[in-house]
Every structure is written in C-alpha cells, then in structure tokens.
C-alpha cells in the first residue's frame, strides 16, 4: 500500500485479514504502508515483489518527498499553488514511475476515476489494462477489500480457458466477469461481436463447459440451412411431413437435450423459424414438423450474431420479442481485435503454440534446426516480437517477428479480427518453416528463425484490401474552401492511407503505388513535400 495515511491499511487489515500487507521500516518505525514513492520504490526491485499495489491519490507530504523531482519549492503564492497541485496528483506521478518499472503490475487506485480531478489522466488510466479504480461501491474499507480480492482472483485466473484466450484488456475482463455469472444459469443467452472475434470458441470452450450441463453441445449454423428446411432441422419432423421425410427425425433441440444448443448467425432465421423458436423458448416445448404432440425440451439456447439485432428488430427484420427473450441486456459482447491491442503479444505467442501443436509442423521445425547444424530442439519454442526481445528469450527455438513488422501489426485495424490475426501469423510461420529460409544457430545453441517482414506486410495489405475492396483506398473526405486546396487534401489523405497500409514502409508504399520498390525515394520526397512526416504518422 502506498498511502501517506495509515488509516486505509488499518481498515483493510480488518476487512481482509487474509491479505498480507508489505511492511516498510523497522522496529517502532514499522508500518504496513509506504508513505511516498521514495519508500515504495525499493520494494519494486525486490526479487519477489507484491502481487498488487494499492495506491492513494492525494499525498500531504513535504516538498522533498513529492514527485516529480523531490525538491524544495520555496515560499510564495506560485510555490504554494505548485505544492498543492503536486500533492493532489501525487498518486498519478507515483503510478507513472511504477509503470516504468512494472508495466503489468496490478494497481488498485483507492480513488474512483470520476473523482480524479484531471480528466485526461483519468481517461488514460481507464485504458490501462492493469489499473483498477475503486468505484462508489468500493469507497469503504469493506468495498475496497472486495475489489482487491476480485483483482487478485482475476490475476490468478488462467489467461485462457480451453482455446479461448481472455487476455487482459478491460473489455475482456468485463466479459470474464459476465461469463462467470451467466454461464451456470439456464437462461438463454446472446453472444455478439464482429466476425472473427471468437464467438463460437467462447460458446464451445467456455460457456458450455462451465454450464454444468450433462448433455451435449450441439452447434447449428442458421446461415447454412435453406430457409424451407430450417423448422425441420431445428425441431425435427415426422415421416411424411414433407417430400423426402422418409423417417421420423429429431431436430437439434432434441439432440441438445440437457445440453447446449448453439444457434450461430441467428439473424438468418426465417420469420417462421423465429416464431417457432420464440414459442420453444417461452413454453419449454417443441413440436416436430407434421406432428401435434408437444415435446418438452431441456436444451439451453445460446444464440450468436455479428449483426446489431436491436437495429434489425427496429427495421422489422428480426422479431423484437425473440430478441427480448434472448436477454439482450446481458449479451456477452466480444470486442474487436483493434480494441484489445494490449493482448496482441500474448495472442501471437498463443498462435505459435497452436501452430506447434501440429506434429507435422514440429517435425518440420526440427528438420530446419538440424539442417542449420543445431541440436534436436528440446523444450519450449518461443516467439519474440522484436530482435531485442529475441536476444533475451530462453528457448530452444525462437521465432522472431521483425520489430518493424510487429509495429505494423500492432497498428493494423484487423477487420477480420482474431481469426485474421491468427491466419496471418500462421501463414508467416508456415512460410518460415517450409520455405527453407533457414534457421540460424546462435552462440548459446538456440535456433533463431526470423519471420519474413515483407510477407507479413503483404498478408496485412491483403487483409486491408478485403476490407476496402481490392485496389481501393478508404479515407475520410477532406473539407476545403477551394478546389486547389481540396486536391491537396485528397492527396494528403491518400498518402496517409497508403502509409498506414504499407505499415510505414516507403518501399512497400512505392510498390503499392507504382508496382516498383525503386520509387521509394520519390514517394518519400513527395510525402514530405505535402507536409507529412513519417514520424508524425507513425
């Protein structure tokens, strides 16, 4: 705990006696809180640092203990104002220092975001995946204890459940909380999110296993079954119910008895099928096509959609009452990959793990290493996201994403989300392993395999083309008062878009523009001439 006051530590010790607060000072001076950054800093260098830091915002300290420069401010009105300001934002200064040393340490602010009187800082704290703030419910010691327990549990929780990767971004933390609360319930659920964000995986690897249901998970893609066959496929049919129904056949509702029925792309259900689904959800019974008997069903329904079902309901394309039955207010929404960039390094490493799960790929890697004169690889394979990181990684085989390519991957919009990111990585790994580019055995005997940056750029550019249409650029229409000005702004906007598409690589940009990398210098000159700078755009 870093707090100039002893009270929070004392109260916390009472409400959460199981927490071990780190001691500072010795003998009679011993305290279970650090009063300043000066006192707290050495602890962060310790081999076993804290699991989490509790941090206050306002510190009534003397000048010499106040960040940013721990110096006397003197007297006078200006000094008093500066002192006051430093004291009021001391927690933020401390957090900034702390983040330089421990970017991923859980920090719990004992102040709500809304109470931080510096709006810009409060906003950036909200975006920090490892910083948590005590909200109104957590303003007392009892509430704070609850928050810390939750944070610690979250930190201990595995990063993945099955093949589903949770990551650390705030949107995924929120999703995890909702999943923990909703997965074991019998209520119908809706899973939403753009294509490729992992909706099916969430249902298969998380929601169904956590449901505690004894029956099977039955997946049903509402987009792939012809409209006329949907009712029979969902609810079953009796012999003779329609041409070709030569025998009684159960539908997926019955197949998912005591289990989970996963209706993917639910927006594709026909109006009839929607009505029948609503009746099944409301009554807990189904009726096979051609039959009169009502059969009770025990399947838990989880529907998924990449569409805005609320909007479709307003437009009359989806039944509003069915949407309400799917509990839209509790919908589990998967974020776009572009909104979880903090997860990208781990997702890349998970991508390598997935690649190496295939025995054929492992054999190909081993053969590559042997061909380079290395030993049969043993132990873990690793992925580094820069050349510098590659030097520090301990593994028998290290795949290296060139820094330039990785920076471009971090900035890329990934319109196809997680699926596209994984495919891009998979393709570049496969190219590195099978194209014979080769491994290098370094002095410590590790095999280092570099991924091809140009190929990664090409794969990403392909992804961008899929989003904007091959050969087309997308940018916002500029505003200008004159035609000449408009023409200039269009060129700037186009250059910017091309620069992003090329991942900031002028050779690649030249290739896209002219078909030749040799024009890179001319492109760069033009880029600068129209008032753009590579540094500014990066």
């Amino acid at each position: 705990m870093i707090d100039d006051q002893p009270k929070t530590a004392a109260v916390l010790a009472r409400f959460a006696p199981e927490l071990e607060l780190v001691e500072f000072g010795k003998g009679a001076e011993a305290r279970n809180h650090a009063r300043s950054w000066r006192e707290a800093a050495p602890l962060l260098e310790a081999r076993r640092g804290p699991d989490a830091v509790l941090l206050d915002l306002v510190f009534e300290l003397v000048d010499e203990d106040l960040l940013p420069d721990e110096r006397s401010l003197g007297d006078g009105a200006a000094a008093r104002r500066l002192r006051r300001e430093r004291r009021d934002r001391q927690g933020l200064y401390i957090l900034e220092r702390l983040r330089r040393r421990r970017p991923d340490l859980a920090v719990v602010l004992t102040t709500a975001y809304e109470e931080i009187p510096f709006e810009e800082e409060a906003l950036s704290l909200k975006a920090d995946a490892f910083t948590y703030a005590a909200g109104e419910e957590e303003a007392t010691g009892e509430g704070l204890a609850r928050l810390i327990r939750r944070v610690l549990l979250e930190r201990e929780a595995p990063r993945r459940t099955g093949r589903f990767f949770w990551g650390v971004t705030p949107a995924m933390r929120e999703l995890r909380r909702k999943v923990a609360a909703l997965a074991p319930t019998p209520m119908p659920l809706l899973v939403t999110g753009p294509t490729g964000t992992g909706k099916s995986l969430l249902v298969r690897d998380v929601l169904h296993p956590l449901s505690g249901r004894t029956g099977a998970l039955v997946g049903f893609d509402c987009a792939t079954v012809p409209e006329g066959l949907l009712p029979a496929a969902l609810f079953g049919a009796l012999r003779g119910a329609f041409t070709g129904a030569v025998a009684d056949r159960p539908g997926v509702f019955e197949a998912a008895a005591e289990g989970t029925l996963f209706l993917d792309e639910v927006e594709n259900l026909s109006a009839d099928a929607q009505k029948m689904l609503l009746t099944a959800l409301n009554d807990g019974k189904i009726r096979r096509l051609g039959g009169a008997a009502e059969i009770p069903h025990s399947a838990r329904v989880i529907a998924a959609s990449n569409q805005d079902l609320g909007k479709r309901a307003t437009e009359g394309a989806f039944r509003a009452d069915l949407l309400m039955r799917l509990n839209p207010s509790l919908a589990l929404e998967l974020p776009r990959l572009a909104d979880r960039r903090a997860d990208l390094p781990e997702l890349a490493r998970a991508g390598l793990d997935g690649f190496c799960e295939d025995a054929r790929h492992r054999r190909a890697i081993a053969s590559l290493v042997r061909a380079a004169g290395g030993r049969e690889p043993e132990g873990p394979f690793a992925l580094a996201v820069s050349e510098e990181e590659a030097r520090r990684v301990e593994a028998s085989v290290v795949f290296v994403l060139p820094r330039k390519a990785w920076k471009a991957m971090e900035r890329h919009p990934w319109p196809g989300n997680l699926r596209q990111f994984e495919m891009t990585l998979f393709d570049s790994l496969a190219a590195a392993v099978y194209s014979g580019a080769g491994a290098v055995i370094d002095r410590s005997g590790r095999a280092v395999i570099a991924l091809d940056a140009r190929l990664l750029f090409d794969l990403m550019a392909g992804a961008r083309s899929a989003e904007t249409g091959a050969g087309r650029l997308a940018f916002e229409r500029p505003r200008a008062h004159t035609v000449a000005r408009f023409r200039r702004e269009v060129e700037r906007a186009a250059m910017r878009a091309l620069f992003q598409e090329a991942g900031g690589d002028f050779e690649r940009m030249a290739e896209i523009m002219t078909g030749s990398r040799r024009e890179a210098r001319a492109v760069r000159l033009r880029f600068n001439k129209i008032g753009l700078s590579a540094r500014g755009e990066r």
């Binding site: 006051q5 002893p6 109260v11 306002v58 109470e115 009187p117 303003a139």
Partner: protein, 144 residues
C-alpha cells in the same frame, strides 16, 4: 463570453479543492462503515470513534473530522463563491460538521439513538462532499 483568466483559475481551484475534501473527509469519515449498520451498539461506537475522531493522521497524531474540515476550509475558502449552488452545498457539509463537533466530545457515552444520528451525519458528509465535488466540477469545466 469568455470568463476572465482569474475566474477560470478560481473555478479550477475550487474543483480541485472539492475533490480534495471528498477525498480527505468524505471518504475517510466512512472508511470503516459496514454495508449494514452494526446491531451491537459498542461496535457502532468504536467504529464511529475511529472514523470521526481519527479521520486522518498528521505529525501529531489522529485528526478528528471537524479539524480535517477546518484545515481544508482555511486553505480552500478563498476559492469558493459566497453565494450560489456551490456555497449552498458547502454550507450543507459545514452544518453536518458542526453537529458532529457538538456530539463528538460525548461519543463515549452517547445512547444508541444518538450514535445512529452520528452515523447518519457521517453519511450526510460523505454524500454532501460528493455533491459539492460534482457541482464544482460542473462549474470548473464551464457550462454543460
């Protein structure tokens, strides 16, 4: 119309001061409060003694809630207007503080009904500080 620079600065200082009061007094005066009021009168008394008599600490030991407020007021009074919404909200907090000032010396012998009154006053202060901060923040960032 643009406010004079001095006025803008005063409003910003008032917002910062209100945030500080919420932090130093509004939060600490109920830091030990449980979600459900203690049914045991002595536990209630002990909690109130801790939160009201040792709201914060200074070089010379515990600082009681009224003293925390007084110290804040000495520093912050000049940046608050004498009338209007902010002044009214500040007066609300000050009034609850005065009641606490009157009750606190007898805290060890107060009957339960008065302890509950004291508990309500701490809640009034916590909520009053929050409302003061909201109003100051609104004025500090200009018209909404």
């Amino acid at each position: 119309m643009t406010a004079p620079a001095g006025g803008t600065r005063l409003r910003a200082e008032a917002a910062a001061a209100a945030a500080r009061l919420r932090h130093d007094l509004g939060r600490y005066i109920r830091l030990s409060a449980p979600r459900v009021l203690e049914s045991d009168t002595e536990k209630l008394r002990a909690r109130l003694a801790f939160d009201v008599r040792a709201t914060r600490s200074g070089e010379s030991g515990p600082i009681a809630a009224p003293e925390v407020f007084d110290a804040w007021l000495r520093e912050a009074a000049r940046v608050f207007p004498r009338s209007g919404q902010l002044a009214d909200r500040l007066a609300g907090v000050a009034s609850a503080v005065e009641e606490i000032r009157a009750l606190e010396p007898r805290l060890d012998s107060l009957p339960r009904v008065e302890l509950e009154r004291l508990d309500r006053l701490t809640r009034e202060i916590a909520e009053g500080c929050a409302r003061l901060w909201e109003a100051a923040r609104g004025e500090g960032t200009g018209p909404k």
